[in-house]
Symmetry: C2
Amino acid sequence: MKSYEKEQIHRMMQALQQAGYGKGTTSPNPPVGAVLYHGDEIIGAGYHEKAGEDHAEIRALEDARKRGNGELIKGAELYVTLEPCSSYGKTPPCTDSIIASGIKKVIYAVVDPNPRHRGHADEVLRAAGIQVQGGIGKEACEAFLRPWMHSMATGRPWVIAKVASTLDGRIMRSKGRRSISGDEAKVFVHNLRAESDALLVGGRTARIDDPALTVRYASRFLSPRKEQPWRIVMTHSRDSLPEDLKIFTDEYAYRTIVYENVLDIGGMLEELYKERGVVQLMLECGGNLLRQFIMAGCINEWIQIIAPIISGGNEYVLPGEYLDSEQRIISPEIIHCGNDCVIRGLVHSSHS
Amino acid sequence: MKSYEKEQIHRMMQALQQAGYGKGTTSPNPPVGAVLYHGDEIIGAGYHEKAGEDHAEIRALEDARKRGNGELIKGAELYVTLEPCSSYGKTPPCTDSIIASGIKKVIYAVVDPNPRHRGHADEVLRAAGIQVQGGIGKEACEAFLRPWMHSMATGRPWVIAKVASTLDGRIMRSKGRRSISGDEAKVFVHNLRAESDALLVGGRTARIDDPALTVRYASRFLSPRKEQPWRIVMTHSRDSLPEDLKIFTDEYAYRTIVYENVLDIGGMLEELYKERGVVQLMLECGGNLLRQFIMAGCINEWIQIIAPIISGGNEYVLPGEYLDSEQRIISPEIIHCGNDCVIRGLVHSSHS
């Protein structure tokens, strides 16, 4: 029985791997993955790729049919990372297709927080004689779905502060010395970009660094459907930004959005979610803007890449006085990344 | 043959473990360890504990005799981390005792850099019919002996910069919040103190923090012979330091040394080595003094404990402009220490 549970978790992690392929293209929908098992064999697998298109469950069924496993679907078990939808959205309810397919049992990890679906699948499927089991691999799948869950609950994107620093807390090296982080960290950052819907910098970073803010060196699976992330620039005045910046002149110029004189960061975040479907926003800004986001209480996750360098200089991770609310990563993950060290985790505020 | 070499390295690591017990009490002598093997059995082990007292080889022989293994010394093999001394110092040459003991073979890791001994042991021992093999476990033993080798070569202590910081490069949290690092890191730091001969702070740290600068929470083996490290305060004027500071009033007040108005850090280091036998000096100072040590090119090793906190504030790991010589840790070691992350390694300077 214990080992059966382990096997179930193993299968759910395979569904989660599928889900990973969709991360970065599904927003505002969740990235979801599914695998179909007949006995001990995978007969099909799939993931949701883009809002308005087939959900993971449907893609797994299609995959099984394409592989010549159509006969084996009857009696199969479906592992899916999120409770199947049970109502009409842009596509018909997955529960209908599941029932029609003859699947014997549905195992899912996370209950859909959407009140339109929450817990409904169990009823609908059971009424059709299908066994249902929830909660398998829940912790890992919830962690994976956290940005989407957050945006569902708050109407704002999940905000990641990405910082590349020296040991002495600087984010820029002296002239003539380029990047702080090593090549491995560069790939790491581009993987984060690939799963983000938007990247954000301030006007100053845009002017000084003239960054491309595109996904170029990612090592993770990149869907051909992946668009470059939105590039958000927060600045006092649009006119302060030279017209020949890369973000205005490259082929993705249509993905650049300038926000002028933002007084309400929360309002801007709501707009990005509502109007652009941004579920995950990664800050790649300097210390001053980072401080504004911290003071607005808008940072959910902190990812800092620390290079083994002591440089001095005037560009700080975070300039200025003590924060009113110290930020703390409760259970930081520490990742060795070439010669650099990545410290990441969820941010908690505590007032002093 | 291959597996015999592995076995030899294993035995040398046992000798190195012995050497570790002496680290922190032997200066200006090196911490050295030895084990005696008869066939596949350890018959004695020992380490050098204090300058002027028996060397590791002699202690291992004594240990064997005390354990009733005296008969087995004849024909035994001696593993020792440093080439045995072959001349009269404060004690007679170890080679004499080795020859008298009937030991069959001497295996050592590191050649003594002291010109009085370098390579002499081989000759002397071979002339007496004893087999000699050098270089086994050399890399690990050299790394362990690095501070002593440095002080032998330069006449100065090995200088470790120890920094406890937040992610944003601050070394002090806002009022009412105490230590930056967690309890595991505290033990880690006290272990470093236990193996250091002296700790150094600036007048400002002494005044603001009133630190005890003693070994209190170490988890490593502490010899009963271990004295508290020297406590060095560098300040503009002795009069700026209140008389009631812990370092002036506790039972180790005699271990506190104040340096006023130091213009030549190198000169001070030479004095500490020559007059106090300081082989390993750990800086526990603030950013301004740290900057002076960096600018003087006097830091050999960097150990930074990074807590997963973003705090802001005016106390920086390193304040001020770009360094003329950026400091870099070439192959940093990354250690998980509770919720904190330790990054440590040897420091290299590179001019911009």
